[in-house]
């Protein structure tokens, strides 16, 4: 029990700090974004599991030889008023911390979900009044805005892709097709679920380096995945041109926001581009364009298999450490 808790604690610290920093600096994710995405998800899951597991195992050490036995005795104390004298202060502290952290993570996940759903509903209601369906069908709407803007609003069967008048005017048909394929790939591959989970993860533990790095990496990787889908059916040149036109035409910072009468927002964000999400997405656009301009071959099969094996181990080892002793004992 003792060594298990130390091992889990070391794993939790490694996954919270050095591992995500190394991964965020690596160059290979742009070559195999899907594999990198799996690794980021594994790091988040295994990190959370070992963090909570380490505290649980440490706290239960005096009352059981393994996690399951410990939980059984703990249930006895909580529900049947069995004596708690075996637990010292630090054990109770660790158990409370584990319970609080679990509750905090679940609660933040649900709260973020609720907030996102509410914002999406409001957005959809306004779109229904302001935007008109495009010639492509009800899944695509056109909104009367001059700057070139394209985005998708997920919502199951009511998912829509929104294009602005400015975008329709600025792009040739094949470039527009590339934009639509890119946005549809986000919807098809359920990227909003990943964005939700990692946004909640960051919201819950904002001071942990891994949560910020993983959210930035995931936002950037989904764009690469969607680009790859768009490349399957359209030309590379059309996609690059579409990205460049939208990026240079939507003066991300000052222009568009001033035009919409929000000086306070642009003051804050253009004042310190390094500190806000804007910088992250600027890096995203740059890395997207450079990987489209000079395509690199995907990682060799063996390297991808090694990453996948690492993912499996990262999840399996803490799970096994937590559960197997109890099943054997």
């Amino acid at each position: 029990m003792f060594w298990t808790s130390w091992f889990l604690a070391v794993l939790a610290i490694a996954l919270a700090w050095p591992v995500p920093i190394l991964l965020s600096r690596a160059q290979w994710p742009a070559r195999s974004p899907f594999t990198a995405m799996l690794l980021w998800q594994t790091i988040a899951l295994a990190g959370g599991l070992s963090m909570i597991g380490a505290m649980l195992v440490y706290g239960l050490e005096p009352v059981g030889d393994n996690l399951l036995a410990g939980l059984r005795s703990l249930a006895g104390m909580v529900f049947n008023n069995a004596p708690t004298t075996a637990l010292g202060f630090w054990h109770i502290f660790a158990l409370s911390a584990a319970a609080l952290l679990t509750a905090h993570l679940v609660f933040t996940l649900l709260l973020t979900y609720y907030k996102i759903q509410r914002q999406r509903r409001r957005h959809r209601e306004l779109l229904a009044l302001l935007a008109s369906p495009s010639a492509d069908g009800p899944q695509t709407m056109v909104i009367n805005v001059d700057s070139p803007v394209a985005y998708c609003l997920p919502g199951g069967a009511r998912s829509v892709t929104v294009l602005s008048d400015g975008l329709m005017a600025a792009l040739e048909p094949d470039e527009l097709r590339a934009v639509l394929n890119h946005e549809n790939a986000h919807l098809d591959q359920r990227h909003h679920l990943l964005l939700w989970a990692f946004a909640a993860w960051r919201q819950a533990l904002p001071w942990l380096p891994t949560t910020r790095l993983s959210q930035e990496a995931v936002s950037s990787l989904i764009e690469m995945l969607a680009d790859d889908v768009a490349l399957k059916t359209g030309s590379r040149a059309a996609l690059i041109k579409a990205i460049a036109i939208v990026a240079s035409g939507s003066p991300g910072a000052s222009g568009a926001r001033m035009a919409f009468g929000e000086p306070e927002l642009s003051d804050v964000e253009s004042g310190q581009p390094g500190a806000t999400g804007g910088a992250g997405s600027a890096r995203t656009t740059a890395s997207r364009v450079s990987r489209l301009l000079s395509p690199q071959p995907p990682l060799p099969e063996a390297a991808r298999a090694a990453v996948l094996a690492a993912c499996v181990l990262l999840l399996a080892v803490p799970t096994a450490l937590l559960i197997v002793p109890g099943l054997l004992g």
């Binding site: 302001l130 909104i143 985005y151 934009v179 959210q215 740059a286």
Partner: protein, 128 residues
């Protein structure tokens, strides 16, 4: 008969165009006029639109925070809470903003770009 969604849209268009508060009766008449104009002289469907339907639509819009009514007068007069442009700006604020939890609400084709980066891209393409 138009769906509630279409009617909401038609009512908001009238309120946004009119700039003034209007009663359900006025709105019903305007909607009927528009329908007649669309269907030509032969159409009578506009008359089928009941004031209660318009009131239903208005109360749905009120619940969504899009219209408000002046409570002092009878019959109630309704007006749009904000202009069409303000609502569009609200949407674009949500789209162009870059707070981390906003990224999860919708997925943009391109995130915010710095001015220098936009310049590089323009040059790259020989735009300008």
């Amino acid at each position: 008969m138009a769906s509630l969604g279409e009617l909401e849209r038609a009512v908001m268009d009238l309120l946004w165009a009119g700039h003034e508060a209007a009663t359900a009766n006025t709105l019903r008449d305007l909607l009927a006029q528009n329908t007649r104009a669309e269907n030509g002289a032969a159409g009578h469907e506009g008359k089928d639109l009941a004031v209660t339907t318009v009131l239903t639509v208005l109360s749905r819009l009120e619940r969504k925070g899009l219209v408000e009514r002046e409570r002092g007068t009878r019959p109630h007069r309704y007006q749009a809470v904000s202009s069409r442009e303000d609502h569009t700006a609200e949407l674009m604020h949500e789209v162009l903003g870059s707070a981390p939890d906003r990224e999860a609400v919708l997925a943009r084709f391109i995130g915010s770009v710095t001015d220098t980066e936009a310049e590089t891209l323009r040059k790259l393409l020989g735009l300008n």
